[in-house]
Symmetry: none
Subunit: 213 residues, 4 copies
Amino acid sequence: MTSTKKFSRRSETRPDEVLDAAMAVFSEKGFAAAKVEDIARRAGVSKGTVYLYFASKDAIIEAIIERAVAPVASGALPRIAAYEGDPRQPIAMLLRTIGTLLSDPEKLAIPKLFLREGMNIPAIADIYRRDVLDRAIPVLVGLVARGVAAGHFRPVDPELTVRSIVGPIIAHVALSEVFGIRPADGLALDRLIDNHLEILFNGLAARPPEPGP
Amino acid sequence: MTSTKKFSRRSETRPDEVLDAAMAVFSEKGFAAAKVEDIARRAGVSKGTVYLYFASKDAIIEAIIERAVAPVASGALPRIAAYEGDPRQPIAMLLRTIGTLLSDPEKLAIPKLFLREGMNIPAIADIYRRDVLDRAIPVLVGLVARGVAAGHFRPVDPELTVRSIVGPIIAHVALSEVFGIRPADGLALDRLIDNHLEILFNGLAARPPEPGP
Amino acid sequence: MTSTKKFSRRSETRPDEVLDAAMAVFSEKGFAAAKVEDIARRAGVSKGTVYLYFASKDAIIEAIIERAVAPVASGALPRIAAYEGDPRQPIAMLLRTIGTLLSDPEKLAIPKLFLREGMNIPAIADIYRRDVLDRAIPVLVGLVARGVAAGHFRPVDPELTVRSIVGPIIAHVALSEVFGIRPADGLALDRLIDNHLEILFNGLAARPPEPGP
Amino acid sequence: MTSTKKFSRRSETRPDEVLDAAMAVFSEKGFAAAKVEDIARRAGVSKGTVYLYFASKDAIIEAIIERAVAPVASGALPRIAAYEGDPRQPIAMLLRTIGTLLSDPEKLAIPKLFLREGMNIPAIADIYRRDVLDRAIPVLVGLVARGVAAGHFRPVDPELTVRSIVGPIIAHVALSEVFGIRPADGLALDRLIDNHLEILFNGLAARPPEPGP
DNA sequence: CATGAATGAGGCTTCATTCAT
DNA sequence: GATGAATGAAGCCTCATTCAT
């Protein structure tokens, strides 16, 4: 009997509940096709209540992003940025962490939503870039650059190499989530990362593969 | 004496002109935000004429896709599929071909549109998968598998390795086109592919980097 | 059988028909309370058609005003402005013209609407001021000023005297239309103007009322 | 020991505070555009409290009117009604009193609101008519009628002449407040009344301006 | 008494689609 | 074939009012 009543009153958690509902609805139907009423119904409130907390439909998706993006800054990034020594370890750690994260469908839904809507709504792409990419990419670039400088890596272009580090994961998720193309045994993100890291680290290794006679 | 008007009827090319216009408009504003009127104006015809050739807005984007996707099957793919010997060459060729293609903004617009709208409209993703991915991926998988079998490559998983081959390009384009993140000197797709191929081929090379004593 | 059909097609007169309908609805219910649907129904078209011609509800009332106000410029005003000689005649003529105009309920509805909505919607007041008052008032002020200079009138303040010229008519209409207060025998605008002119012209007459013994 | 709070409850004056706030908000934005929340915030109470004292938004404006209109009956009116002798003096007094009143923006706001909303809400016009006009107009009519009967005034129509007495003031305020048209040196209501009275009294004077030969 | 979270009917506006010409 | 005026369903948002606390 939690709430058959017309007026309940739970202001503290409401905004978050609305965001949860919105996340679910946006993931299912996409931003454009999602009706504010759907979100309200899903959150168990009225349309008016949604507008009590968010000024517009646009504001809802921005709030979702802000909320999802906040933890990124304080996550593993600082530790990776400060890492000294062979960069292979933090890179492997980062990719495996991402792999674990994306294996949770609920977590996976977030970047999927970003990508999906970011392509149509520049404001969303901007937020994601500002709050995630502009933080994460320089860390990775620095890591690679130091790896090169310290002789761990071949003399690759750090900026472009970052695309080689994360690209396969993006491709894998895109194939799976957008086009429904998966390996026979499911998403297999762990196996992808293993396979990718082996190629990547061998490919980056300082020693040329053929030392010659 | 076909017509007294300045421009005679050209009903044979009309549908294509409409598709060109639609492509341009969809690329600029996205499918949802594009109005049929925009497309008509761009094509220099009336709204009614658009509906003369296409049953609905959805039908327009599907026609764009069909038209764009048709040449893929008859392109370089068959030659690559039939290739014998070290797979490095066809892989490099393929990536460089893709690189050249995507450097033309007009060509780039096509996969961008697919990705953008495929995420929201499953029917589009289906067409793209059926007509492009289901043809191209098996060819690449076969190439890698044969490379492994012939001892050119380390014993990698062919299916997953395909993600490592194309992923960096996808990442590069996504960063550039969705988030506006580009290397200092422009898109630099050629440089990316060079950098990527060096890592990739070294990473795939059969000889382990460190033979040990 | 003028039009039981769903699609009729009479583009040339449509905008005016919509304005007529809007005028009627606004007069009845006021701008705020009038629904676009009311206007559409009254005009015998669909809501969509209204938006075909007018970008918004606001645009409708502005169009009404523009249309009503257009004839003013080209009306009696230029002739009055150019008048030479005793200004009593053009003033009397002007007031009697106004009196005749306002006796037609349909014409009366226009300034009523302006006043009514101008009080709440500054944009409307602005248009009315710009297009009507800023043209008419200077003409009247000039007339009075010349009357004073030529010795026809006592040395009154022309600007303020304009209020004395038109004020009684405004008061009469306001009492009648806003508050339902009318002389026993109806609106009697003609009688009001006669009575007003007698007082006004005697009041303005150059010769002091009491020439002395 | 009425309260530990900084401000003790003052329920006796609360309704009046709400009405003051409402008056201010209505004057600024008009009745329709004023939100109950605005009124509450201005009054320093919650929306719920407003509804504690007033059943609806309509009830608020009616209460404002009742409160504003009450003092009118007991004002200068009885004295004027009882006045004997040349009516010029009480008329001048009345107009000057009105002039002083309307120079106070806060006082001016009241008739402005009446006019503004009376045009849209008949109930408001009715109240104003019943409580103000139906009392004031007969007094003025009587004054003029007696002036005519006693030979002070020319044989004008008393009812219509009342429009000539108050009209210029109405016109002046309307031009100023609705359309922003003011004499160069501000509202100048005093000067208007002087100018008006001179014309009016000369116009009403019994002796015809030109006795003729 | 007082609060302010919650409601939901109702309005304006958009735009894919239809069809008379 | 071609046009573009007309349609109307559907969605976003506002805000007066209610009521649990």
